[in-house]
Amino acid sequence: MLAAAVVGACAVAGAGELALLATGLTAAGTAVLAAGLWRGRPIVVPWVLLALGGAAAASFAEGGDPARTPLFAAGLLAVGELSYWSLETRLGRPAVGGIAARRLALLSGLVAGSIALGAVLVSVARVDAGGGLVLESAGVAAAVALAAAVLALSRRAA
């Protein structure tokens, strides 16, 4: 909840004229997350991430600093991980120590990794590689292929 509020607040702060939209998305996302955590419904988490991602996108639309994007991405990942952590562990009581510490360490690693990945992507996006139909088509194909690969992998694994 706190992580979601922080991500939302940062998005609102950088949204400029779209602050109202970002505020609405943040408020709705936080409220839905609160309700979902209260009722134990994991289905709300992707919608909350979508809403917070929308708020973050609103801040970029106003020409925000692209260097902040990896921080937003890492924040969204932290919100998702913490939400699922909260939902998964509400029944069991720890019988051995160190479970929370290990998970916290894993979460920190993921957040750091996503910041690093985001930074790489931002720097790649800044490189002017020209334009044209061929490059545009290659980008679309790569995005579709990546999305399809992830979906196919997850379906096969299931």
């Binding site: 992707p46 996108a57 969204l76 998702g80 998964e88 019988a95 998970r103 993921l110 579709v144 997850s154």
Partner: protein, 424 residues
Amino acid sequence: MTRTTSPKLTAYAGLAAFGLLAAVALGRPELAVLAAPFALVTALGLALAREPSFRSWSTFDAERTVEGGRVALELELRSEVAVPHADVAVALPEGARVVDGPNPALVRVGAGQSLELAWRIECDHWGAYDLGEAVVRSRDALGLFVYEQRVGRPQPLKVYPSAERLRSVLRPLATQPSAGNQVARNRGEGIEFADLRPFVHGDRLRRVNWRATARSGELWVNELHPERNTDVVLFLDTFVEARRDDAGTLDLQVRAAATLAERYLAHRDRVGLVVFGGILNWLTPATGIIQRYRIVDALLDAEIMLSYAWKDIDVVPRRTLPPQALVVALSPLLDDRALAALTDLRRRGFDVAVIEISPVPFAPHSDDGADPLVERLWLLRRAARRTAFHSLGVPAVEWREHEALQSAIEEVATFRRAAHLARR
């Protein structure tokens, strides 16, 4: 083992795909950056996912206990693959609950390591339980898959009905030839004084009553009551029962039977059992601790099995009902077949006592919406059934839930004393 995808996998894969496509469609690389961590976690999770394989051993500290007793369950888990997060929940049948220990327990198991878990389980209701199995729900490192596996080996745990404390039990009208704790009505070698009689040739000198001899001037000897054992047959009517939620007449029957069996066996009497219902079950009378366990084990198997077949007492093996045995019937007096069998036993000369396990507390009352006239007629009919037994010289007393069994036994004893006086 079953494997399912967690909601996280679907959500992250969907968000990654949506973000990447939106980035291309809108020409905003920031959206791709936002989606990248979710794609990264999904890809890493899929690459690193390993199916855990648990080996397990479960042990109990007891094979049997009594109602409300606690047993310790220990489970040892071993996994060849590291499991960072798993919930271990003991599979509990109805009537059993964990009173000590986390359930479910949140654990982690290192690769090639073992983990020991312990719980204390309380069984609230008598019966035979299968315990020792647990369900392990584990997740891979990034929580994208959920693996569910049953571990442990179910082992039988017998929970015996708790016995009430009784000050006294019913004395049979006749005793058996073997030595026991009951004072016989006939005379012979014993401790209890019975009468005086003149000395005859062959009497032992130690039996001479010197006071009476000094007063009368001729030898008088004491006559004594010998201590003998008795044969008691516990007769359970299991044709039908009245039940409400977690309590019923069968529970009371089993508790009363266990109590009486324990008490009679402690007095070195021979105790037998006849479970007369849809399923016929019997134990020939015997004595000793083994017989006690046999009886209680047989009681655990007692259940109500609906049957429309007419059964009379002839289906019970003859050796189960020895002559001069006291038959203590525990019946809700709801089924005519059991009533006919008890009447038949009485007419064959058996010493029969009926403890009616009252179904009235388990039946709907007029306060609950039942027709008061129907309830009254039903109660009158039950009273008539008891009166029919009384007319045969059979004590039939009502015993209700939460009443002491001793009070019912005293009532039967009072009836038998009154009937004895009436015969005089």
